[in-house]
């Protein structure tokens, strides 16, 4: 398997691969987002308890799920970067971090907007909200640490190490609604049991989650391409490409 994977550690290959994937990913992501959100916002029945204001779920839940999913992707990249010393993996940690930070911020802001009509307050210090806020701080810490060194590579490695340490927060966020009985409701979608959400609302939600995921991949491809060019700017293949155009 390593023989098969090894060419993908080469920056040039990854650069062209990302370039090939990006247009597909971004157009698929935007289509799915439009489909999921328009379906969810305009064509699903209102909730029997929360009326129409539950519809923010189609932005809140996908961004919250992807804030954690993006972090685990970043941590896996960080692990690969530190264990096998793959440079592309280091750069992808830095490419992923701001995307994840934005998703976390979206999840927090939409959650606040949802909490105001439902709980009557913008913010409560409940376990899930607090741990999601810590996740945002961890993302910001990774970004800040990577920029704090004069040597860019040391910064990338230090940020990778911090990303791995922060993984400890993921299970805490995920299970916080089960461990502590707090204001935030439990999960509506589970893999093992029948979901507690009606199918008419479930499908647009699943499409929105997929859309957020695909858009994340597209943005990371774009950022990774830029990072590769920035770090490899003195290599022959970049110079040849720049001359060719």
């Amino acid at each position: 398997m390593f023989k098969w994977l090894h060419p993908f550690a080469k920056p040039e290959t990854v650069y062209h691969l990302c370039g090939r994937f990006y247009p597909w990913l971004i157009s698929a992501g935007i289509l799915l987002l439009l489909l999921g959100n328009i379906w969810g916002l305009a064509f699903t029945p209102p909730d029997y308890q929360q009326g129409d204001s539950y519809r923010i779920i189609h932005i809140h839940v996908p961004s919250a799920i992807m804030s954690m999913g993006t972090y685990s992707a970043m941590a896996i990249a960080a692990f690969i970067a530190l264990v096998w010393q793959v440079k592309v993996a280091q750069w992808s940690v830095l490419a992923i971090a701001p995307v994840g930070a934005i998703y976390t911020a979206i999840a927090l802001i939409t959650g606040m907007a949802w909490g105001k009509p439902m709980w009557g307050t913008w913010w409560v210090w409940d376990a899930r909200l607090t741990s999601e806020l810590i996740l945002l701080f961890l993302y910001l810490g990774v970004i800040a640490l990577s920029g704090a060194f004069t040597d860019r590579q040391t910064g990338a490695k230090a940020a990778s190490l911090l990303a791995i340490v922060g993984v400890i927060n993921l299970p805490v966020i995920h299970f916080s609604v089960e461990w502590w009985n707090t204001l935030h409701q439990g999960a509506s979608i589970t893999k093992f049991a029948k979901p507690s959400i009606d199918p008419s609302m479930l499908w647009p939600l699943l499409i929105s989650i997929l859309a957020f995921k695909v858009i994340m991949l597209a943005l990371v491809c774009l950022r990774l391409r830029t990072a590769i060019l920035l770090n490899e700017q003195h290599r022959p293949w970049v110079k040849a490409m720049a001359k060719g155009q």
Binding site: T130, F137, A148, G155, A158, I164
Partner: protein, 221 residues
């Protein structure tokens, strides 16, 4: 083992000669504590309610203050570089750092706790809980801050960055420690919170030294 003992002796000697390194954070702890009654008013009931949070926030900040200089001198002198270059296992160096860091910042906080209890009108039950949470919590604070210091040792803007990295990781500890002290103040059992703090401490003890070693290595490479 011999190496570990000699590293510990070296750290203790350094601490004995640079008293400001560990006395200033302690002074800072006491000053922060005395600022709260001045800021929110000296009413005894109010202070008793706020005491858990005040004690733990002051402890977090003073440990953080002490952490900043932890590896700086060794890095500038080239000690860390020499240790990495000599292919010596860094574990005993890191363990000595951790132990002496706790002895110089965590333990004095535990010893100061009776004074703190007097200042903030904490009663006996609350005092016992504070003592226990400080005993379990300060080693974890030391572990996390040593890791933060190791990560940022060669960074340009170490101090403020260290706070940004480490304070989010302190939050779970802060939650459980002040929950335990609040429960004790209301005469409720708080073994659960103490058990979770102990679990976090053991987990960190097993894993953080490895993270510290690799952080030091990547800072001198």
């Amino acid at each position: 083992m011999v190496v570990l003992v000699s590293f510990i002796q070296r750290e203790l000697r350094l601490l004995a000669r640079q008293k400001a390194d560990w006395l200033n954070p302690l002074l800072f702890f006491v000053i922060v504590l005395s600022l709260f009654p001045l800021g929110v008013g000296p009413e005894a009931n109010l202070l008793r309610i706020m005491a858990p949070g005040i004690v733990w926030i002051a402890a977090l900040l003073s440990v953080l203050l002490a952490a900043e200089r932890l590896f700086k001198d060794d890095y500038r002198n080239g000690v860390i570089e020499q240790l990495v270059a000599a292919r010596q296992p860094l574990l005993s160096f890191v363990l000595a750092k951790l132990l002496t860091n706790w002895l110089s910042t965590g333990l004095p906080l535990v010893l100061l706790s009776p004074v703190v209890a007097l200042l903030l009108n904490i009663e006996t039950a609350g005092f016992v809980a504070m003592l226990l949470t400080l005993l379990l919590g300060t080693p974890l604070l030391s572990l996390l801050s040593v890791m933060g210091a190791a990560l940022t040792v060669s960074a340009d803007k170490g101090g403020i960055l260290l706070a940004l990295l480490i304070l989010p990781l302190y939050i779970p500890l802060l939650i459980f420690a002040s929950a335990a002290m609040e429960a004790a103040a209301m005469n409720m059992p708080y073994h659960g919170q103490l058990a979770i703090m102990l679990a976090m401490l053991l987990f960190a003890m097993a894993l953080i030294p490895m993270a510290v070693i690799s952080a030091l290595k990547l800072n001198v490479s």
